[in-house]
């Protein structure tokens, strides 16, 4: 009989708010992040990058760099594996350009030298001859006939014939008959929306320390959301066996999806192999902006029909996403998330993945979803305004619920959208009076969440304490939530559990920390590993008592006989069992390896008050409330932190953050000076309400919480700003000049 500790109430540890296990390291400066590793004999590396948006590489002359004192290795594309296709081929092409530089900042060569200054000087001494090609950085322009072709033959079979070769993937789904639905509506609104690319903006630049020998054995230390993936990609790009490359994840200084792939790690390893010394490679902030993975920019058309009573009769959307010079923009995510909050009889959505001369996009917190919500929730807001309807009541009227059909096909299991809407409606914020010049906006948002390959190992020590090895880097307090879940099952204090992020040599494959999967999947695996250990503990007690294993149960850290029939025995504490485990059968460990597939989807509703200065167009967010379904909040403080962090990033995206390309195709704001993320004085306190509608796919009901929090803000803020300014804002960011222009054309119009 398998032990099952599933429950959704009656927790002793889960739901409490203890200090995080790595707190001391992180407030004293001793936590080791990507750039904090050093090795004897270590070299420093730097990368030569293309200044052109699109150019054929005619010649690379590295001789002057190689001749410099202190330079130990120079690599170009010739130093990497050949014949790699598919996604890894794209990654290689992105990591080090082959025949063409595809965007401003694309790597073309790299140097390792005895100091960082020498490496930087040597990069300047590399001479690259380019033949400049026409470029395109705008998504709509890239789709038009005559647009420069980024790469021929990059499209997959999903793309209908006759489209521009820059359109590389196509997605379409829906049900019903949207035209019939629109005919039933009292009001149909169709609008065009634009959003600009944004960056995850993690404060820690990509950094790694790599050692690779000519024997094919390597060690890599790097800041990543997924070191097994790094191991797999690097091994392929350097043509070594995966198992021969051990990857250790450093503490990670923010990722938000941007550290789910590989940019510099293979370069450090190639340099190390060539120099036969450890090589450290750290991106500058400018390199992070130019050559890591920002999110897609979008061009979207959304059309929604509504009856006077608020019933949505039909919805249709077209979502065009550019993802840089490679396939991969999450167009299907955008299309699938767009109408997910609503129970629709007639719905149709289309997505285009479009290539441009920009860096290869990477995931950014619910990739693709926030933009969709911006377009859809703006149109719903406008419909509510025009029909005189309450925005929350209208959303409640149309809300997806358990058993209704999702806009992208399946039937919804138990979901918590209605609960978030009801909690938002009941929140004092929703009915608080507004001052002149202020407007209120609300929006819903949706994200799938993910499970994925997961392996966890738990070992008990002689003193009855436990060490848990997980394979998902701790991005925001997950050691604490793992320890809480293990404590709940083992029945021992939270403090008695040490959670370690294991390296790739220690556990089986762990998928990247993405898809809000850590607390769900590593949490589930931790619970299962702890249950596995508990079963073994019970077996030892049974053996000692001479009774069957199933006559023993586990409670609060003790093995107990299951009833009078089992016999009269003093309960055995975990420490009593582990103290003698060497003599009673050997070490006691639990483990779990699987691909959990029950990640519960998550919905949120946000309320925002914004104030607009009509003379300058400057917006201030004056009040913000996040309401989100967490399934079960394992460590509520860190759940609140995820809610607040997503809202803050959304505020930046909505108001001021954007990639600005010049006519020359070069990025003009590759730094925190002009890529304007919110600073402390820009934001109000961010209120949070944790709704708990348990996820049946997790033993304790957990749903991922990390990503959904960024889905509603763009729309909620746009709705608030539109209300405050009295004019509908359909383009992000809503920078002051854009608001003034909208005000002006509203007056003129």
């Amino acid at each position: 009989m398998a032990l099952d500790s599933s429950k959704t109430t009656g927790f002793k540890y889960v739901g409490t708010r203890p200090d995080r296990p790595d707190g001391l390291d992180k407030v004293t400066g001793r936590a080791k992040f990507g750039a904090d590793a050093y090795a004897p004999g270590m070299l420093h590396a730097a990368i030569k990058r293309s200044p052109h948006a699109h150019a054929r590489i005619v010649k690379i002359d590295t001789s002057k760099a190689e001749a410099m004192e202190g330079v130990k290795a120079v690599v170009t594309r010739a130093d990497f594996a050949t014949g790699i296709e598919g996604e890894f081929g794209n990654i290689l092409e992105n990591v080090m350009a082959g025949e063409k530089a595809l965007y401003d900042g694309h790597a073309v060569a790299a140097v390792a030298a005895t100091s960082a200054l020498i490496a930087r000087d040597a990069v300047k001494a590399i001479e690259v001859e380019y033949e400049i090609l026409p470029h395109v950085t705008d998504v709509d322009a890239a789709m038009q006939a005559g647009a420069p072709v980024i790469r021929e033959g990059a499209a997959d079979s999903s793309v209908p014939e006759g489209l521009h070769p820059n359109i590389v993937r196509y997605y379409e789904s829906g049900h019903g008959d949207v035209e019939a639905g629109f005919a039933e509506a009292d009001l149909v609104i169709e609008d065009h929306f634009l959003t600009e690319a944004t960056h995850q903006g993690y404060i820690e630049p990509h950094a790694c320390l790599g050692t690779l020998g000519t024997d094919g054995k390597g060690e890599l230390w790097c800041c990543t959301q997924g070191h097994w993936y790094v191991q797999k990609v690097c091994a392929a790009l350097l043509d070594v066996e995966t198992s021969q490359l051990r990857v250790t994840a450093s503490e990670i200084g923010g990722g938000f999806g941007g550290k789910t792939t590989v940019f510099i790690e293979p370069v450090a390893l190639a340099l190390s192999r060539k120099a036969n010394r450890p090589v450290k490679l750290v991106m500058t902030r400018a390199e992070v902006f130019k050559a890591s993975g920002p999110t897609s920019s979008t061009s979207m058309d959304v059309r929604i029909g509504m009856k006077k009573d608020g019933t949505i009769t039909a919805a249709q959307g077209t979502f065009r996403l550019q993802g840089g010079a490679f396939p991969g923009a999450p167009c299907e995510m955008t299309a699938m998330c767009a109408f997910a909050p609503y129970d629709l009889k007639h719905v149709h959505q289309v997505g285009y993945d479009v290539m441009t001369n920009r860096p290869k996009q990477a995931a950014y917190r619910a990739p693709g979803s926030p933009m969709a919500a911006f377009a859809v929730e703006s149109v719903i807001d406008e419909l509510c305004n025009k029909l005189g309807l309450d925005p929350i009541d209208t959303r409640l009227k149309n809300a997806s619920r358990e058993g209704t059909r999702a806009s992208f096909g399946p039937k919804w299991p138990r979901i918590g959208l209605v609960e978030t809407l009801e909690a938002a409606k009941a929140h004092p914020h929703y009915s608080a009076p507004l001052k002149p010049g202020q407007g209120r906006g609300i929006s819903c948002g949706f994200w799938f969440n993910h499970g994925g390959e997961t392996a966890v190992s738990l070992a008990l020590s002689e003193d009855g304490s436990a060490q848990v090895a997980v394979g998902t880097p701790d991005i925001g307090g997950s050691r604490a939530s793992m320890a809480l879940m293990a404590a709940e099952v083992l029945g021992i204090p939270y403090e008695d559990i040490r959670v370690t992020i294991a390296d790739t040599a220690t556990l089986g494959y762990n998928e990247i920390s993405h898809g809000s999967r850590v607390t769900y999947a590593s949490g589930l695996a931790t619970i299962k590993a702890a249950e596995d250990a508990v079963q073994k503990l019970c077996a030892r007690a049974a053996a000692k008592w001479g009774i069957p294993e199933d006559a023993v149960y586990w409670e609060d850290g003790y093995a107990k006989p299951s009833g009078p029939n089992a016999g009269e025995f003093e309960p055995l504490h975990i420490g009593d069992i582990t103290a003698t485990m060497g003599a009673t059968g050997g070490p006691i460990c639990g483990h779990f390896e699987a691909t959990p597939e029950g990640a519960g989807v998550s919905f949120a509703t946000h309320i925002v008050d914004a104030e607009v200065d009509p003379e300058t167009g400057k917006t201030s967010v004056v009040r913000y409330t996040v309401v989100q379904d967490a399934g079960k909040a394992v460590h509520p403080t860190y759940v609140e932190g995820q809610f607040q962090g997503g809202a803050a990033q959304g505020i930046g995206w909505a108001l001021n953050e954007e990639y600005i390309y010049g006519e020359d195709g070069r990025l003009q704001n590759a730094g925190f000076l002009d890529y304007r993320i919110p600073v402390a004085s820009d934001l109000p306190m961010i209120d949070t309400v944790i709704v708990e509608v348990p996820n049946p796919g997790h033993p304790f009901g957990v749903r991922g919480v990390g990503e959904t929090s960024i889905c509603p803000p763009l729309a909620a803020i746009a709705n608030a700003v539109s209300a405050a300014a009295g004019v509908r804002m359909r383009q992000l960011p809503m920078r002051p000049s854009r608001i003034l222009e909208a005000l002006e054309s509203a007056v003129d119009g």
């Binding site: 003379e615 400057k618 002009d674 820009d682």
Partner: protein, 288 residues
């Protein structure tokens, strides 16, 4: 890059005059180090003037004005109660630059010599009538602050010359100054538009007026006509409108990543009105 830390300005001037290639003076370093790190300017010679006696001092001049040493930081200015009382606009303008951390290092002299069109302290200093002491191989001269920057990144200083002090004039009776800038965030941005106003009043009537705009032309724009528009009047709605119109008419901005020509021009008018009102209130407050 060679680094020098001279003990006197004579020594510093001799170093600068004799140096080949690119020479930079290091005071707070908040521009010099950014340019170094970003590979925009790597000086051959870097002269750190902070060890020179007096460069950290804020002193009252004999005439009743203020003399600022060239290493005086924004933070030191903000903490100087008497300086703040006399020239709140100048101090606020300096204080708007960068973060608390930047304030701990950045100097108004550095802001001036960096010659950015968007330098915050410069319009305020010009409106206040600040003067720079320029010292070179041929001795020292006094130069109005507005004559130092000549184009983006370029100053009127000759080889071997450097600023050795700034002087703010005596505040005098019934005066008040103010500086406002527009940025998209609340902090940490470069000015999209800046506006410094310095007024003197008698009763409610303006007797002296200076207005200077930043980030709307290659160098700060001194709106000389502001005096004609304001002197002899109270700061009523008509005066404010006239001032805003003047500000807009004086703009010669560019479109760039930080703002459009249209936005800069419009916002210059808005800031002119708002800054003038603050300066006016301050000037009248002196009488009370």
């Amino acid at each position: 890059m060679k680094y020098y830390k001279p003990a006197t300005f004579e020594e510093a001037v001799a170093l600068a005059a004799g140096a080949d290639g690119v020479t930079r003076i290091l005071a707070g370093g908040t521009d010099v180090l950014v340019q170094l790190r970003s590979d925009i300017v790597t000086p051959d010679t870097l002269i750190d003037i902070k060890a020179i006696p007096g460069t950290h001092d804020i002193t009252r001049t004999g005439a009743g004005g203020w003399r600022l040493g060239v290493a005086v930081t924004g933070a030191e200015m903000s903490e100087h109660a008497e300086l703040v009382r006399d020239w709140p606009g100048v101090v606020e303008a300096m204080d708007l630059i960068g973060s608390t951390q930047v304030q701990g290092r950045a100097t108004p002299v550095g802001n001036l010599c960096n010659a950015s069109p968007a330098a915050d302290s410069v319009p305020a200093m010009i409106a206040a009538g600040a003067v720079a002491t320029v010292t070179g191989p041929d001795g020292s001269r006094e130069v109005a602050v507005e004559e130092i920057p000549v184009s983006p990144g370029k100053t009127s200083l000759a080889k071997g010359e450097m600023i050795t002090a700034l002087t703010l004039p005596p505040r005098g009776e019934n005066g008040g100054d103010a500086y406002l800038r527009f940025i998209p965030r609340t902090e940490m941005d470069i000015a999209v538009v800046g506006c410094g106003v310095n007024l003197r009043v008698k009763g409610d009537v303006i007797t002296e007026a200076h207005m200077v705009l930043g980030a709307v032309a290659p160098t700060a724009v001194v709106v000389h006509a502001a005096a004609d528009a304001l002197v002899g009047r109270t700061l009523d709605d008509d005066a404010l409108q006239a001032l805003a119109d003047l500000a807009e008419a004086s703009c010669n901005p560019i479109d760039d990543k930080r703002g459009t020509i249209k936005f800069r021009t419009h916002t210059a008018g808005v800031l002119a009105r708002r800054a003038a009102q603050i300066a006016y209130t301050r000037a009248k407050g002196d009488q009370a």
